[in-house]
Assembly symmetry: C2
Homo-oligomer: 254 residues x 2
């Protein structure tokens, strides 16, 4: 017995499944596009195609929000845009700070998608004194020393971490201590946060590695038996069977 049970049943979403929440922005984007083209109504089938999901899934997702459709007709685009926006909390303004104004941080600061939908970059923060005052995306970079004051003055509750991995946890701790309760982490590290703080991570390296896995698998299927020719000492350890896979693992580095 190692640790006591601090079992949280995850986030108690107001009845809306997490998987559904993750798709709402997708629907919202598709709906916004329709709205701009002045399309009045849309069927679940059409909208699902535009969002790249199954239509049954879409209908079930919407059912968690309430009954906003009209049978025989479909969904009112404008109405749905509003409902989803409200559900996602996009009808209010969310000031965010970006910490770590390197290449990525600067790119994020310039990213239009931020401001487009309820999010406003309240401040850019960097630890490098040479960056202080320097304008990025039409906004002066501020020094990390003022982090706490910036957070509290602007009522920031969402922070974006784009620092090197080594600084991420420290920055995270300061953000949380200053009152930030949601963090979007671009640094390749596992962040530890107290209960009640949400962390989402975006990791370019991980995404690429997942792609590489599938890519390797695809390559291995077409021309089977050519990538395993690597030499290596025979290992008595792996006498396990791996199922129907014809893979022959037998290599181990010293």
């Amino acid at each position: 017995m190692a640790t006591g049970r601090t079992h949280r049943p995850a986030t108690r979403s107001r009845g809306i499944p997490e998987a559904t929440v993750a798709r709402l922005p997708l629907y919202l984007r598709a709906l916004t596009a329709l709205s701009e083209r002045s399309v009045p109504t849309v069927s679940s089938e059409e909208l699902a195609a535009a969002a790249g999901v199954n239509s049954a899934k879409l209908r079930k997702d919407f059912s968690y929000l309430g009954s906003y459709g009209t049978r025989g007709v479909g969904y009112d685009v404008e109405y749905l845009v509003y409902q989803i926006s409200r559900e996602l909390g996009l009808t209010q303004d969310w000031p965010v700070v970006i910490v770590g104004i390197g290449n990525l941080g600067a790119a994020l600061a310039n990213y239009g998608g931020f401001a487009s939908r309820g999010f406003r970059v309240a401040a850019l923060i960097d630890a490098d004194p040479a960056m202080a005052g320097k304008p990025v995306a039409g906004m002066p970079v501020q020094h990390t020393d003022d982090l706490e004051k910036i957070i509290s003055d602007n009522g920031v509750s969402i922070g974006v971490i784009a620092t090197p991995a080594g600084a991420a946890q420290q920055v995270c701790d300061r953000l949380v201590a200053a009152g930030v309760t949601s963090i979007l982490n671009f640094a390749p590290t596992v962040l530890t946060v107290p209960d009640g703080v949400d962390v989402r991570k975006v990791d370019l390296s991980i995404e690429l590695q997942i792609l590489a896995f599938h890519e390797q698998r695809k390559a291995g299927e077409e021309s089977a038996a050519d990538a395993d020719a690597a030499a290596g000492p025979a290992v008595t350890k792996n006498q396990h069977r791996k199922g129907p896979d014809g893979d022959v693992p037998a290599v181990m580095p010293a």
Copy 2:
């Protein structure tokens, strides 16, 4: 209908669950850190803590790869690093191209995490003639016209799309036609690709919106006051009907 999209029942991983594959890079990172500190072995409990996952989950994940641990001791760090690397296909070199060298594309080009682990930026491609030849991350940007040639000359099978949303599908089509079978998409669009092509998307805006949802929920729990009748226009489902187009729907919030 226009798109006859065949929906994939996910990828048919050769026995290794997709969820496990997605965690392997996480384990690999933690193991690499241990390796650099010359730690010889690690228990599932320790490694799980470092990777931020449940230890039982980690053991089950590893069980899909084979029996690489020693009971009573743990896992050999070096051995596991190698096994996971091999499983992910990181023992070989993956040339990638980045298309769309704006702020984000440039940031990606400079991102160290790319080159660190089997991935090599083979080329930077942009549609802007003014960018052509300009060095970014010590590498000259090439024009979109040469995309097909670049792909085939370098044997690129992984492409990164960092273009504006409007250009993404077109770029995607050209990449796929040229032989790319894995795409990492940063453009806020749903990409349609033929069977056999993997697409992973990274969407900053979506991540923020998901955070906003939880943030709103957190705020709403503390001060349960305005949830429904907030700023919503007085429109009910049945009354709401947009007449003939021309009228501006009055459903949008401030």
